[in-house]
Symmetry: C2
Subunit: 221 residues, 2 copies
């Protein structure tokens, strides 16, 4: 049985979950308290992070490397463009969200509000939360700018870049930290992604101590 | 003319410089003080980071996306394995160094000691420096473990993973922060990389205020 060791609100795990679901690869989800690593877990991934995917006997880590591998082994339906320029743009945007958006927004909002509580590391740092709330506006505006020129973030087809962005935004949406009224273009884009069958697994998540807000799983917001 | 906007000791720029040189793509190097971004620079890359590559009329950013693009457009000599499993392992290790090693070591040593001074952001935080000096040992040991099983980091051929690791280590070597005596396997590996023609551009770097140590460009250490 294929297994994904994950944490429900981790955007890196969500990106892999979306990719697996889109490609109809069945996995058993196993929640991992990676901040209290067991020797077993560290043996699976010396980096001590989630996601870790056990697939057909192989143990895989690092979300982008996993998704690229899944794309190469299970090319249908495609999540990467066919030409090098298109793939470049998809990869650039994956890095944009996993690096820049992650540092400026996800780590400032989600990690302060949720991870610190779950990991018993104290209270949110209000300076960080304020900074994250400020920066997300800039990122939503950047997405709007892209979506005014393209149907999807990296071009005219949906790609891994859309899943990467949706993975981060959906985790933040779980704690009601996305202002969907800021941009009609981004709201429409998210509604399209959210209604895909692949998204169902994310909408079913429940995190103890953080009840799911009513709009989170509502396909019409 | 192709141009790379870069900063000499940035490991992300070095990774792209190594890849360009290995594939014999000529570029003009332009130093960018990215921490004082000009409107021109931000127009080239809204992320406000280096490297930015202007190649055949296209403007490219994000080092991993750039290197994957170069690999696809200029496949010879190859820097990625031919099979998906090999490419997965190369990508996993690129992420290991660009993410984990970067956060635990590069940012704690290089950014504290050099970037802070160059950017006039104060003095090194000795707690960070101490932590980085501690963590690099663990990473050198992990590399040793890999190199005991393989000729290169990701397998039996040199890949982008080796360039990524060498990019980080060479920047730290410029400030004498790598203990090459810790591991004969890592030292041999670095000597092999360092003697490649592609490495010459890095060995010629000079950073004002940080004189190049004598061992840095010495191919026999």
């Amino acid at each position: 049985m294929n297994r994904l060791f994950h944490s429900p609100l981790s955007p890196f795990c969500r990106k892999v979950r979306l990719t697996l679901a889109e490609k109809r690869i069945e996995v058993e989800l196993i929640e991992e308290r990676y901040w209290e690593p067991t020797p077993d877990f560290l043996r699976r991934n010396p980096a001590g992070k989630v996601p870790v995917l056990r697939l057909e006997g192989r143990v895989l880590s690092e979300s982008q490397a996993i998704c690229e591998y899944l794309e190469e082994k299970f090319p249908d339906p495609a999540l990467m463009p066919r030409n090098p320029e298109g793939r470049y743009e998809a990869r650039r945007l994956c890095a944009w969200f996993d690096d820049k958006f992650h540092n400026e927004v996800t780590s400032k909002l989600l990690y302060e509000r949720v991870n610190k509580k779950v990991m018993k590391q104290g209270y949110p740092d209000s300076k960080n939360v304020k900074m994250g709330a400020q920066k997300i506006k800039y990122h939503l505006d950047y997405m709007t700018w892209l979506l005014e020129q393209r149907r999807w973030l990296a071009g005219d087809a949906m790609t891994l870049a859309d899943f990467t962005a949706a993975a981060h935004l959906s985790s933040l949406d779980y704690i009601s930290d996305v202002d969907w009224n800021r941009s009609a273009a981004v709201k429409d884009w998210y509604a399209k992604i959210k209604s895909r069958p692949a998204f169902r697994t994310l909408l079913a998540d429940q995190v103890p101590g953080f009840p799911q807000p009513s709009h989170y799983a509502d396909l019409d917001f």
